[in-house]
């Protein structure tokens, strides 16, 4: 009996190599089919005050209710609008009419059909009442919102309003169910705590202080979606406990801010963890030093320029925020098309800062400067201490005043500070967010996110008004450039760094960061590798 023929050893090697090559070539591109089932565990911190982000724009509220309620459209990571409840849209040649065709066959979670009446109610009644900023913008630019046929809605503008799509797709304007809100006190409506939407997940339970449970919407209007059986948001108030919960895979996702910056590097290096900065393209964070320009010596622009020049912002990014950002390039975030790349920069230069102080002719040490430090976390406390030390060589006498969040909120709103750190999310067009920090009609004592610096420059006001009346294009870009240069010179707000948002998640989670609206999207296509029961 002949001995069995064994393939020669070199042939086996070749075969092995070929298999490995195939795996290397195709393995990374061929993705396994999404699996259905499993619960995704997330952290909602701080605990949201409401679950209706049309009423409360709190970051946690958006995170939770973004899975339940949906808007007309969203933005992909290239900032291109993508359909959600609007199937498609068109803009008239004069830019004055936006027509949205709505998705057919959509129902609310209570079984009622979603129609154009819901959209009309949302934008004609709901938002003008609950959001005065939105209401005043709409009053200024929108002539009428109407519907000429079922499942179609048209926005008729008085004059071109370039940020309209940004405004509708920001993730902050979900369509609300008319049949549950009409005729009620919109802010006290019980459905703000148990939202009814059109999204892939249905509100199930909120146990305050512990968790919020969402279940799969079995009647979701997109066939075969969502993949997950549910989403649970855990309320975990302590940062170290949040890190431990993520490390144990009790929660699968850690948002920027959930853990201390010093912990992110360690957690991101864990073997089954992915760290990504994608998904925040529409929410471009800008951290800045807010300067109260009402009193000497901070009423002098040269002094303000000296302050920014004396701050080593690269040091701040690298050593205080552990690399979670990049040095700011100007008043508008540099990743957005509204920023002027030619803008003069305030590079760190102590000599130049001293020269600017000398040029101003002001004795900056004559009065004590109060740097009001809010309760934003360890990194911000270190930043306040660093600022105090960095400004000492210029002759400033800086006193760091630490307060809890509520005190900080009130004191900044009351203009009771000299310097304080704050940040905003620039949602696309600066007119929708940054403008409130600079426009003189927003010198208000009602919010830290108004013009609390007291900046009042008629030329800047004129440019803001002009820019919003101008359609997208080179002329608008030129106006924005002119405006940014002016703000960069006056510096009522010293931009420090553009915040990066590292999201950490376990490798078993897929399709997590698909749009530019951070983690607030609806998660219809998110799935888990090994769904847990």
């Amino acid at each position: 009996m002949p001995a069995p023929q064994h393939p020669p050893r070199h042939a086996l090697k070749r075969l092995g190599l070929a298999v490995l090559t195939c795996v290397a070539m195709f393995g990374s591109t061929v993705q396994a089919a999404p699996q259905d089932g499993g619960i995704l565990n997330l952290i909602a911190q701080p605990e949201p005050p409401s679950l209706m982000h049309g009423v409360v724009t709190h970051v946690s509220t958006q995170y939770v209710s973004g899975k339940v309620l949906q808007g007309l459209l969203t933005f992909d990571t290239d900032l291109k609008p993508q359909p959600v409840l609007a199937k498609s849209w068109s803009v008239s040649p004069d830019g004055l009419t936006y027509t949205f065709d709505l998705q057919p066959g959509v129902t609310w979670h209570d079984g009622k059909p979603f129609t154009e009446q819901d959209v009309l109610f949302s934008f004609n009644t709901f938002y003008p009442e609950v959001d005065k900023r939105f209401g005043s913008i709409f009053e200024q630019f929108v002539a009428a919102i109407d519907s000429s046929k079922p499942l179609q809605v048209s926005f008729h503008l008085k004059k071109p309003f370039a940020p309209l799509l940004s405004s509708l797709g920001s993730g902050l304007r979900p369509v609300v169910p008319k049949h549950l809100y009409e005729g009620s006190d919109l802010r006290a409506n019980p459905y703000n705590l148990k939202p009814v939407g059109t999204g892939p997940f249905v509100f199930q339970e909120w146990k305050r202080g512990a968790y919020i449970k969402l279940a799969k919407n079995p009647h979701y209007w997109k066939q075969g979606l969502p993949h997950l059986d549910g989403v649970v948001f855990h309320v975990i108030p302590d940062g170290s406990s949040r890190s431990a919960a993520f490390e144990r895979n009790d929660v699968q996702v850690l948002r920027a801010g959930d853990a201390d910056y010093s912990d992110l590097k360690r957690l991101g290096a864990l073997p089954d963890v992915v760290a990504s900065e994608q998904g925040y393209e529409l929410y471009a964070g800008l951290a800045f030093l807010q300067i109260n320009t009402r009193k000497p010596p901070l009423d002098n622009p040269k002094v303000r320029q000296a302050i920014l020049t004396a701050l080593n912002r690269q040091f701040i990014v690298d050593n205080i925020f552990f690399g979670a950002g990049r040095v700011s390039q100007g008043p508008f975030v540099s990743s957005t098309p509204y920023h002027d790349p030619q803008l003069p920069q305030y590079a760190y230069d102590l000599k130049k800062a001293k020269a600017l102080i000398a040029e101003s002719g002001v004795d900056v040490g004559a009065v004590r400067i109060r740097l009001l430090n809010g309760e934003k976390g360890g990194a911000w406390e270190r930043l306040a201490e660093y600022t105090k030390q960095a400004l000492q060589p210029l002759g400033f006498k800086v006193q760091v005043v630490t307060s809890d969040a509520a005190t900080w909120f009130q004191r900044v709103s009351d203009w009771d500070f000299d310097l304080t750190y704050n940040f905003i999310f620039q949602i696309g067009d600066p007119y929708l967010t940054n403008a409130y920090l600079y426009r003189s009609d927003y010198i208000l004592k009602t919010s830290p996110f108004a013009n609390v610096s007291g900046y009042n420059n008629p030329e800047a006001d004129r440019l803001w008004n002009q820019v919003v009346d101008t359609a997208e294009g080179p002329q608008r870009q030129k106006l924005y450039s002119e405006l940014e240069n002016l703000l960069n010179q006056d510096l009522p707000i010293a931009p420090i760094f553009e915040m990066r948002y590292p999201t950490l998640y376990h490798k078993q989670v897929h399709n997590l960061l698909r749009t530019a609206t951070s983690l607030n999207e609806d998660y219809e296509s998110v799935y888990l590798d090994a769904p847990t029961p």
Binding site: P49, V56, K207, G209, A210, G230, F409, T446, S447
Partner: protein
């Protein structure tokens, strides 16, 4: 009859005490800067002055302070603790939702620390009498536990038992996504309770050990113990029938005082373990200047502390009938 009068007097004093706590807390929390209406508007992303003024009016914050106080006391007299505008629900329902979590944590920590503490204290005292090394181990161990900050100990326990060993859950009081019933449900709750309970118990455990050890050593020197021994009573009977009954008096007094401290200790433990109790509710309410919830929490805790102290008094009288009978109690 005398006993009833005495109880009535004590109840009256306790009522006055709670009233004083209410008035003082009301005034103190309003001394802190921070406007609830402004904060709520900020969370909602609203900076409309009219909206904020309306909110202030709705909350009664536009009234003079004295009027606000009188209004609140009137509400409390009608068992109405007010409304939390931030949470959009009544303060009663918020407290009722959180109370079981706090009571289970405080109750289990109280039982564990007192039983274990007394037992270890007695063992240490007996060991001390025999000059056994066990006394040193227990006493020094207790000192170590006492010296460790609660929140740090809690973090260490999480790292060891949850992250590294993966034996126990790291947060919460139940496995949310699992539908458990019966024994499985109870087991799950107990697993979640163990680490928070241990963290909260350790501080008090040390105090119980030291207190019991000292009181037992002192009692062991008393003449009635020598007499009992001379009469030929067995050591166990002497210990449990004579020594412990007398040694427990200071321990019981301390147990009454412990409740107030437990409430404050529970706050830290609740934060670290995400335990949804009253402490965390109050912590959040303070950050949000939710006056109604804060006052409700103060009222509840003061009622618990005063009630427990009253109970301690009664227990001490039962343990030592000389107290309150005109005799010289210990």
């Amino acid at each position: 009859m005398n006993g009833l009068v005495s109880l009535g007097t004590r109840l009256g004093r306790a009522g006055l005490m709670v009233f004083g706590v209410l008035v003082l807390s009301f005034l103190l929390i309003r001394l802190a800067p921070g406007d609830p209406a402004l904060l709520m508007a900020g969370e909602a992303g609203v900076d409309d002055p009219v909206f904020i003024a309306n909110l202030r009016q709705q909350m009664g914050l536009d009234q003079p302070l004295l009027q606000q106080l009188l209004l609140y006391l009137g509400q409390v007299a009608h068992l109405d603790l007010g409304y939390s505008y931030r949470n959009q629900t009544s303060v009663w329902s918020l407290l009722a939702e959180r109370l079981p979590a706090t009571l289970s944590l405080m109750g289990s920590a109280f039982v564990l620390s007192s039983l274990l503490g007394v037992t270890l204290g007695v063992i240490a005292a007996r060991a001390r009498q025999r000059r056994h090394w066990l006394d040193g181990v227990i006493s020094q161990g207790a000192l170590l536990l006492y010296a460790v900050p609660t929140f740090w100990l809690a973090m260490l326990l999480i790292l060891l038992f949850s992250v590294h060993l993966d034996w126990l859950p790291a947060f919460g009081m139940e496995s949310v996504a699992r539908d458990l019933h019966g024994a499985a449900w109870l087991g799950d709750r107990l697993k979640h309770l163990l680490l928070p309970c241990l963290s909260l118990s350790f501080l008090f455990l040390a105090l119980y050990i030291h207190l019991t050890r000292a009181a037992t050593l002192e009692a062991l020197q008393q003449e009635y113990v020598h007499t009992a021994r001379a009469k030929g009573l067995r050591p166990r009977r002497i210990l449990f029938g004579h020594v412990l009954r007398n040694a427990l008096l200071p321990v019981v007094t301390f147990a009454g005082l412990q409740l107030g401290q437990l409430a404050s200790g529970a706050l830290l433990v609740e934060v670290v373990y995400s335990w949804p109790g009253i402490g965390r509710l109050m912590y959040d309410a303070l950050a949000q200047r939710d006056y109604g919830v804060l006052m409700g929490g103060f009222l509840l805790i003061s009622l618990l502390v005063v009630g427990f102290n009253l109970l301690t008094d009664l227990l001490c009288r039962w343990l030592d009938p000389r107290i309150g009978a005109g005799g010289q109690g210990t």
